[in-house]
Symmetry: C2
Subunit: 391 residues, 2 copies
């Protein structure tokens, strides 16, 4: 008798929502489609020459090509501790991108049924992680000031006891906004009062091109694990992310990681350490990215105002890679089909909804196209809207 | 009211046995201790110059530093398909080392309570993975011919229904032996008859320095996922491993991976593709490793025979990195303390036991020390045995 059960997905995997974004990227890979759908940084702004030189020098030493410890190469942990402003290197652990940091935290700390609060709209990679541990998930609306702490307080007062709250604090993916200082302070205060852990996910914080920096939530409470990454400031293929937080949380994650994939790449971590520690070079490099992303964001929002001004609302991005657009009365999933036909792609808001729908929203990335291409993309989007209007 | 629960380990993590080996490595990092305890390949045999040149050239292209898809860079998947002898690239997925392949397979396919059969003694990284999904675990003795298929058949006939059987087929870690051809054929036949999936873990297969190669289990059934890795043949820090197996299993793993860490390193995968595809260079490079490991294994076993011949039994290694030694009447955990005092380290057998004890066994790695150092290590081991004898 054959029991052909081995190939069914585990209950944990079956519980994970597929990434509509990944599926969409296939659709948008057609030639002649201007894609504002992706979540990649600009390829041409990756410092390939500097990485190539550093990689060559670092990897000439065979010791740099051995295994390392699960928490990461000490010299890189030290540089990252300095980068994120943490004094104790025992509070820092390096990961294979910050997506892995999320995964490790969830699997090290959560049991099925534990309550986790996420953003609505949500970073889909976070939702997938919490679904994969079969957490109970509630979602807080993202307001213009960051996640809705007033609603959170009412939930807490009504007896909800989250174990973890995950939020993207700067230049939200997909909502574009940053949490205000008062949102951060109140969230930190609630964490201390109610004993939950905050995962402050911050891949984009260094990419500010307007407005003033705001201290991280982590500055206001010890109950915060702050996530960061080299992917958006150096290169995604280095696969170096990090978390900084309470040493006992770091210790649990380190213990889990041994069985997950043993360790990260010694070599990549040494490259990242060298580039982040070269403060002069890094500051100039980041300025180039910031200026370019700022120009691109301005081109996108100007085009939106000029071409679709009467139909859309959006928040002016002050950094990061995304602009979140609301188009009242338009079903953006239906619009996407017309848009691809017109030669432009975006991600419909529905892909990011947890409790809310966002059926009339869309996420536009301004990171990977030139100002001219972005203007042309918006023109094509307007064509698609007109086609959909004619129905 | 503060609920300070967030820092407790998840039930899944609490269920994972700590790695005694990792803990031991700290003990053995003292100067003047010759360590036969590690599981690293020889640092001086890592082809650093070739990797450095390739890394420099590959990473000069910023596209090589972007994200890739979850299954891995297509050109590297194609090279790996050729390397493992698989025709369809859809059967190949690249991972962050083969430890991650194990983790992904377990989490994609298993539910808590599912039966998994492992080797006894076991590769501890596999045990940790199956514990992390809270599988029910049984362990089959490793005989001189590989895992005990006769006992497995009796279990199956008695009604046991494993979902997955994990075994290291070549140069077992820690047991040193390889599964015979008849063991492989019978295991494959049982998988087809009873519908379980075999994970054939083969990080060491190319490191044969004596005897003749044996076709993988995967040659005898489609119900096999074969794991391999660049770590022992090129460099651990590349963090490139792979699995080849049924496309629907690969598909489930790909789906899970998006939430685990998005993808591997484009850059590392392109480096591995180039080095594995250079057949002439690779064959010469592997020959160097094989010859050196063969000399080291011979030095170790000669020393064991000469110095401890009356006290030990062991299998002559034909490849890989490990020699498994039985020392009847000796508690090897107690011996380790004397050994470190005498300036030599190993891993006590108890670290690898699942249902069996192995309290009189030890694992010696011959990969990282010179023949002279290995002979000196065995001499120190004999000193430790003498000290323990005197009690």
């Amino acid at each position: 008798m054959t029991l052909d059960l081995a190939y069914a997905p585990s209950d944990a995997l079956a519980n994970v929502r597929g990434s509509a974004i990944r599926d969409l990227l296939k659709l948008t890979e057609q030639p002649n489609v201007l894609s504002l759908a992706g979540g990649l940084p600009a390829t041409e702004l990756i410092p390939a020459q500097r990485i190539s030189e550093t990689a060559a020098r670092v990897s000439a030493d065979p010791a740099a090509l051995q295994y390392t410890v699960s928490a990461g190469v000490m010299s890189c942990r030290e540089v990252v501790a300095d980068y994120v402003g943490v004094r104790d290197v025992g509070q820092v652990l390096l990961t294979h991108g910050s997506q892995q940091a999320l995964f490790l935290l969830a699997h090290a700390l959560l049991n099925p049924g534990d309550l986790v609060v996420v953003d609505d709209p949500v970073y889909v990679g976070a939702l997938q992680v919490f679904q994969s541990v079969r957490a109970r998930i509630r979602a807080l609306p993202i307001t213009a000031h960051g996640l809705d702490v007033d609603l959170l307080r009412r939930w807490l007062e009504a007896g909800e006891r989250p174990r973890i709250i995950h939020t993207v604090s700067n230049f939200h993916n997909p909502a574009g906004v940053s949490a205000s200082r008062s949102t951060r302070i109140e969230l930190a205060r609630l964490a201390d009062e109610y004993g939950f852990l905050i995962i402050e996910d911050d891949p984009y914080g260094r990419l500010r091109f307007a407005g003033r920096s705001i201290e991280p939530i982590a500055a206001h409470s010890d109950r915060v694990v702050l996530l960061g990454s080299a992917s958006k400031v150096l290169a995604p293929a280095l696969r170096v992310g990090w978390m900084s937080g309470p040493p006992d949380v770091i210790g649990l994650v380190e213990r889990l990681r041994q069985g997950v994939d043993l360790c990260g790449s010694t070599f990549s971590q040494l490259v990242v350490a060298e580039l982040l520690a070269d403060h002069t070079w890094f500051a100039e490099h980041i300025d180039v990215i910031r200026q370019e992303y700022g120009s691109r964001a301005a081109a996108l929002t100007s085009a939106l105002r000029e071409t679709l001004g009467g139909r859309v609302t959006f928040t002016d991005p002050e950094g990061g890679m995304f602009c979140w657009v609301r188009m009242p009365g338009v079903d953006t999933s239906a619009l996407l089909l017309e848009a691809v036909a017109a030669g432009v792609a975006f991600v419909p808001g529905a892909a990011f909804g947890v409790e809310a729908d966002f059926g009339d929203c869309l996420r536009l990335s301004f990171a990977t196209l030139t100002p001219d291409e972005l203007a042309e993309g918006v023109r094509r989007l307007a064509v698609a809207v007109a086609v959909l209007d004619r129905g």
